[in-house]
Symmetry: C2
Subunit: 314 residues, 2 copies
């Protein structure tokens, strides 16, 4: 089994099929967050700091740091954000930019072995990002699209992933330092997106033998009760071999799904982490009445009626 | 693909790999419910009636009806319960008993084509239940244990399932009327139980080509926040090919998982059922503070930060 190791100065995190699932907090990202973008551009990182601490408290094992602000000095802002986040948390980071100079600025100040987010199968991107990954001894997210865009055919995406792995090898980067993103499309727009990803994850696991990640929130784009879709997507994808995700750890339903998936995969020995976190937890409920079961029904509820086959009554 | 059709007088439900997942309500079962058991034994079916209606309202497509009360006249009580439930709902039923005479009493009064729950690989059970299933033209749950008990080896369980399918064929019952229960063990006791079930579901889907069900609540037996484990188990199992489950539809987190799984499998065209049910739904939250993320963090939350790869900002 392939293990991918990333680290901060003091903490190592390992992605692998026989390892607990790695939750990468997505929130330090000004895309679509006007206030955060303005603050970061003005040199105010208080919200970045709060987001970092809150995500780690909520259960994130790594944090993605992105400083994509139009017209701003992204390399300088990304480097500053990386340094700040590393000064207040000990989790490894994913340094996230579409600008190669920003990736390099982040890498130059990073302490430990980060994940670089990302390289694609595009020639220009391959030949600019991979040398950086090699130079700094990082791991890298490989996104399975190329000059032709994102194929709806998962087998085409698989070939793009294979090409990136092979090119990385040419640069002296081992397959264990490549984390493939199969690209998760919004299921509301492409109803077969879930089947596509499961098929691709299966091939990535068995044939390419690489670790995987994805932007999990994307799957539920445009739908109501998004966190319910994301939680089930992550459960299914982990069952199919997904080993990490860039996701929102502030939704309890989603964190529960990932931790429950570790239990189901046999990666939480004696369910110890589950029990520790949820020993006193009340049931999740809709915060209003709209989605609830009828009142009278809920009062009489009981768990586990069908258990007689394996156990007697409690 | 194999379709299994069951029906009431007026409604047909179809289990199949290319069909929406079938939720079978588990609550009409006196096992471990002392008050319900006493009431049913005394001829008071008001709670059965309430449980039936509440489960259908919550989303159950079928209902399991069990009358296993020690020292009571189970055949008469089961028949009465079946008639009552059929008089107030139109969903097909699963007639559930370990006593063959009770199954026969239920079958004799049932209107439509029910699911008989269950036959095992035990000789005596095979030769008493299968003729009944044939006589009444029912479908049947096949539980993958035999005289030697429940094997921890999923491949042994697969062979038991195959034996039941073959024996049923000898009785003139087609494979499409067999719904195999792979047997879900409590994950708190057997940490590999999840992997075992996924492996077995995969073989049942590809090799035996049968529909499947299970007592889903069993997986979380003894753990805190059971509904979180059950929801993720069902998501993963549906991804691996599970086509129905006997489960508790009164837990919103669990129903959401099954409906989200339909979305992910491409079995909810244009996400129409999801949108209809959850359009106005608030996020699920812990009903107390114990499992919540920090207050300050939760206030600032936002969904979908990583979506820029497929979509621009909202």
């Amino acid at each position: 089994m392939t293990d991918t190791v990333v680290s901060s100065q003091t903490r190592e995190v390992v992605l692998g099929l026989e390892r607990p699932f790695v939750m990468i907090g997505e929130r330090i990202n000004p895309t679509g967050r006007k206030i955060l973008a303005a603050e970061m551009a003005a040199g105010n990182f208080s919200r970045v700091e709060a987001d970092a601490l809150a995500q780690v408290t909520a259960g994130a094992h790594m944090l993605d740091v992105n400083a994509g602000i139009p017209l701003a000095d992204e390399p300088a802002i990304l480097a500053r954000a990386v340094q700040l986040v590393q000064s207040i948390t000990d989790v490894p980071l994913s340094i996230d930019s579409s600008i190669v100079k920003a990736l390099e600025a982040g890498l130059a100040v990073y302490k430990g072995k980060p994940l670089v987010n990302s390289v694609t199968g595009e020639e220009e991107r391959l030949e600019s990002v991979l040398p950086l990954v090699k130079k700094y001894g990082a791991a890298v997210v490989a996104i399975s699209n190329d000059e032709t865009g994102i194929s709806e055919d998962p087998d085409v995406r698989f070939e793009v992933a294979r090409k990136i792995v092979n090119r990385a090898a040419d640069h002296g980067i081992p397959r264990s330092d490549i984390v493939v993103d199969p690209l998760v499309m919004p299921i509301g727009a492409i109803n077969q997106a879930g089947r596509q990803v499961m098929h691709l994850l299966n091939r990535l696991k068995h044939e390419l033998k690489v670790n995987t990640t994805c932007g999990a929130s994307n799957v539920s784009f445009g739908l109501p009760a998004r966190e319910g879709i994301s939680a089930t997507f992550l459960s299914m994808a982990i069952g199919a071999g997904l080993t990490s995700a860039i996701m929102n750890p502030m939704h309890l339903e989603i964190v529960r799904a990932c931790m429950a998936a570790d239990v189901m995969m046999g990666h939480d020995a004696d369910c110890a982490r589950w029990i520790k976190r949820f020993r006193e937890a009340p049931p999740l409920q809709a915060s209003g009445a709209a989605a609830s079961a009828p009142e009278g029904a809920a009062r009489g509820r009981r768990e586990g009626g069908h258990r007689r086959r394996a156990q007697g009554p409690v």
